[in-house]
Subunit: 231 residues, 2 copies
DNA sequence: CGAAGTACGTACCAGCGGTATGTCGGATAC
DNA sequence: GTATCCGACATACCGCTGGTACGTACTTCG
């Protein structure tokens, strides 16, 4: 692959066709992301997408196997992009507890923008199955949470098994998602975000308190989990 | 059955027509609930519903304004029914901490049955808006969580404002929903449920520890929420 | 230059949610 | 009893949507 015309200036190693192809594919994803974010999956027609991208359904079905496949491409990109943003913010902190707090704040910022909320949190589980939804989350945003939880809990010199760590991460992730939606739809998002940070911070402080006083997991694993235990 | 009078035996004050009407309406909701739970909202056609209920679309559109309205009726019933079950289980306990644990267990039991999971958690937010979703949750399942959180935190002799309490409840509710889904789809649901109970129990124990040592909210509301605070 | 294949455009279809209209039987007034 | 009315459906139909089959022009390669 070389010579004469096929090369494109900016993109080495790519032919014109490949470049054009990539361009239209990207245009489709771009337009779809906007429409999905604004009107939801069901509220967005393929006609609207292809018209927005100034192509036809033939082009769409050449690049994607269908509407759902296009949504998955959009979903994946939004997910990865958001995870990157959060991860980037996390690098500035080293202390695990502060890192957790910072991660929460970054997440709330991402969620408040709407695209992630609508595409990933709201439509994601319904359009894909929960399994596929989870599968993707597992290696992006959720992975960040796992990392933070691991660092935080290991700071307490604990060694809990992987399943338990995943459970903690799931719980925190769910809490953050729900909190994110409530923050985004609150009348005063700033104040709501502040409250969420306080509440989560309080939970973390509680864990830290247990760590400090040397309580370990087995103590509360009785099942009843009643700290004021009588019997 | 009996006479040629309009009255129906079991239902005093109701005419035959009203009785028949209520019956078909209920049949529609029943069938729709099953199909929505099995194949999701988008995967269920009105033809399948009316065929299952042995009526026609005319009947459906006589009772409901459309597919979404029918879904909302199903959603509401599932929601209320589930909330009732949980609330019933809660009556047996008085101690707020044990009540919290018991509530969690009941919730996990409900979620594992699938109908609530699919209709309320998965399709609910996508089909209705988040606003409408929240609106309904606000006065059923979520209300239970609020009540428990209130009782639990008040047991610590705190007086946190209503907004903060709602925030805590949101966080716990989100955590429970996510945990519920992960439990339901786990390879070993029993073990997964156990882990969730342990993890949540641990968080509760953390709160209790803070309460015991007299820490109040303001102490951690600094924003950083870093218990090992240095600066 | 010609063969081949990619990257689309065009035309079309089945199924879906939704609507307009017809119809029949129970309820009601006399 | 019977005339009338109206609620509770059934039937037929429509526009739109996702999806498919097929045609075609432009590139790329030999």
């Amino acid at each position: 692959m070389s010579k004469l015309v096929p090369k494109v200036p900016g993109v080495p190693g790519a032919t014109r066709r490949a470049s054009y192809s990539a361009s239209t594919k990207r245009a489709l994803i771009d337009v779809a992301e906007g429409l999905f974010a604004d009107h939801g999956y069901a509220g967005t027609s393929l006609d609207a997408i292809v018209s927005g991208a100034r192509v036809t359904k033939g082009a769409l079905y050449h690049h994607f196997s269908g509407k759902q496949a296009l949504f998955e491409a959009v979903f994946e990109r939004v997910e990865i992009e958001s995870a990157k943003r959060i991860q980037k913010a996390l690098r500035s902190e080293k202390d695990p507890w502060r890192k957790a707090s910072l991660g929460l704040r970054s997440f709330l910022a991402v969620v408040r923008e709407g695209t992630y909320r609508r595409i990933v949190i709201q439509d994601g589980p319904a359009v894909r199955g929960y399994e596929r939804y989870r599968e993707q989350e597992e290696r992006s945003t959720f992975a960040n949470v796992v990392e933070i939880v691991r660092a935080t809990l290991e700071a307490g010199a604990w060694d809990l098994d992987e399943d338990m760590l995943q459970t903690f991460a799931r719980i925190f992730f769910g809490a953050m998602s729900a909190a994110g939606e409530s923050v985004a739809t609150a009348v005063d998002p700033e104040a709501a975000a502040q409250r969420v940070e306080s509440a989560v911070g309080f939970l973390l402080a509680g864990i830290q308190a247990l760590v400090d006083q040397g309580t370990d997991l087995e103590t509360v694993i009785t099942g009843a989990a009643a700290p004021g235990d009588e019997a």
